[in-house]
Symmetry: C2
Subunit: 332 residues, 2 copies
DNA sequence: CTGTTAGCGCTTTCAG
DNA sequence: CTGAAAGCGCTAACAG
């Protein structure tokens, strides 16, 4: 069914290796021979077998991207940039949509192992996940994006999550809020941990503590359900900091459901500044991470590693996080 | 760097082929030998090279999924289901995020060609795209999901787009609307074409025509900009049908921007019923496609083809589209 | 400039 | 039950 270089060679009346050379743009091939071969290849609609090629070249020209839930709009935005950057550099992109908990390594491994990819971007590593180093040991370059893992000797790109959390706290305090709630992300996500940490530190500087706190997934549903709970407390918070924008959307929805006005009765701050945060209906005040820049930086670090242009210690790139003020925050 | 079956063989004191058999669960291998080999493999942290394996087995255990813009939440929802279904069947999943216009075949091909994948789900084919049949000719099974292409001899899964468009029209007419606008999708998307067609037919049955129409991408921005235009007309529509939910979100945003109340001053109907449509802040009335069922059906059809269990004529599966009534529609 | 030759790492006969 | 040997389709020396 599939045609090979042999078939093309026979058709063009040359040797198999000449076909390979001609099709790969080897300058030594005579122009007429090349034309002959290209014509033959076209006639037989030849296409190179990628397995055979990578077997010998030891490269797959493929990058793996590990994300948590593709359904969370945060990831598609990241993937979009990564994809463009890798395509530009001649790599194709494989998306793996898995929850990368510590224990899942065995299930995850076979997917990417066996040199199926030349490098991996991990955007969903959980604290304590050991598989990151495993890749590294296999000699497969890895970069962590938007996540940190203790003791992994790989490149990583993050934003200043503690700083971002602090800014959120300071902002709310300055607006006069005193009863402030926190809806955090999964305990084993470094981002969730650091944002909460910074937030607490910011409140502490004003002599405050988190009035009510809940922890859940980075989902709309989590934000929705926990917010309903907070708002039903005897002394509900006048402001809520959500660990990411999608949680914040859930918070806004819960408030609307309860007939509580934002920002008049409740101020809300999210984190990430995904595109939707700027939509008119949300107008979400949020802590902005420079997503595109971060993704680009991650892609470039990985490509450098793959091409072996650099031999350096693992780096940790930290991008600043700034408050993006919109319509969901106001004076207490 | 990478260990091979040879290394394991040497370590275990057996032949290379026995290692292969043992690791692939060949029942003929003696239990003790197998244990020996497994231990050796573990010690050397051996992992099978996927290129070498597919070269000989002629399979990659990989499925390609072709989508338009991953940033459009419609796709992630589809991908999520597809991914689960394929994983269950033992396939890994490669996501290709490309605009699949007719002319782009050459750029797109090398990505998936060369038997890099065992089968392909195409969820973004544009009318007139010839590459669909090209895959088919290469002997690579293909299924079209949510898209139709004329004269392609492949399986396809769609919803009743004309029927859905008609339902939207009938609903608005019955609510008493007479000046009704349409914000459509790209002209070369079969879904956009069919939904508009059905919508017109529905209006025609009530002796009406589309009062104002605009056409654009399946994006928030398109909905936003065109809606601003429609609302600034001398006699703006009292209802708008958007070709998909994301466009409809743009419409809602534009209305809010203009201080126009939904549904009191403007009724809005979308299409797809993606998860966000049900969020409190949107409460979007929309035409529901059974996305999960459609994705599952597509996955199963493709798997059947790949495993060669069926040899049948290309089928066209049509799922019903129903109105999901929420808060963005009311009487004129 | 082109043909011959040797593998890449694996699965799969074919012997024994 | 295990080893030897062939070969998947390609690239990359090595000759000429």
């Amino acid at each position: 069914m599939a045609t090979t270089t042999r078939d093309v060679a026979r058709e063009a009346g040359v040797s198999q290796s000449t076909v390979s050379r001609a099709l790969n743009g080897d300058p030594r091939v005579a122009p007429e021979t090349r034309a002959l071969i290209q014509a033959a290849a076209k006639r037989l609609s030849y296409l190179p077998n990628s397995a055979a090629r990578s077997l010998i070249t030891q490269r797959t020209d493929t990058i793996g991207i590990l994300i948590g839930e593709i359904t969370n709009p945060f990831y598609p935005q990241l993937v979009d940039v990564l994809h463009d950057e890798f395509t530009l550099a001649g790599f194709r992109t494989v998306l793996l949509n898995e929850r990368a908990d510590a224990g899942r390594a065995d299930e995850l491994f076979p997917q990417l192992q066996g040199r199926f990819v030349d490098g991996i971007v991990i955007a969903n590593a959980m604290l304590g996940a050991t598989f990151v180093d495993d890749f590294h040991k296999q000699g497969i370059p890895v970069v962590l994006l938007n996540r940190d893992v203790d003791d992994a000797h790989v490149d990583r790109v993050v934003s200043d999550n503690t700083g971002g959390g602090e800014v959120a706290a300071t902002t709310l305090v300055e607006l006069g809020h005193r009863r402030i709630g926190l809806i955090g992300g999964p305990a084993n996500a470094s981002t969730a941990r650091d944002r909460a940490l910074g937030f607490e530190r910011g409140l502490a500087r004003a002599g405050l503590e988190v009035a009510s706190r809940r922890v859940g997934e980075f989902t709309h549903q989590s934000g929705y359900q926990w917010c309903l709970e907070l708002l039903r407390e005897p002394a509900p918070p006048t402001a809520i900091f959500a660990a990411n924008d999608v949680i914040a959307f859930g918070v806004l929805d819960a408030a609307k459901r309860m007939g509580i006005r934002v920002p008049e009765d409740l101020s809300v701050i999210g984190y990430d500044d995904i595109e939707m945060a700027g939509w008119e209906l949300f107008g979400l005040t949020t802590v902005r991470q420079p997503l595109s820049q971060m993704a680009k930086a991650a892609a470039r670090m990985l490509i450098e590693r793959i091409e072996g242009r650099v031999v350096r210690e693992p780096a940790r790139l930290v991008f600043p996080a700034n408050l993006m003020r919109r319509q969901t925050t106001t004076y207490a």
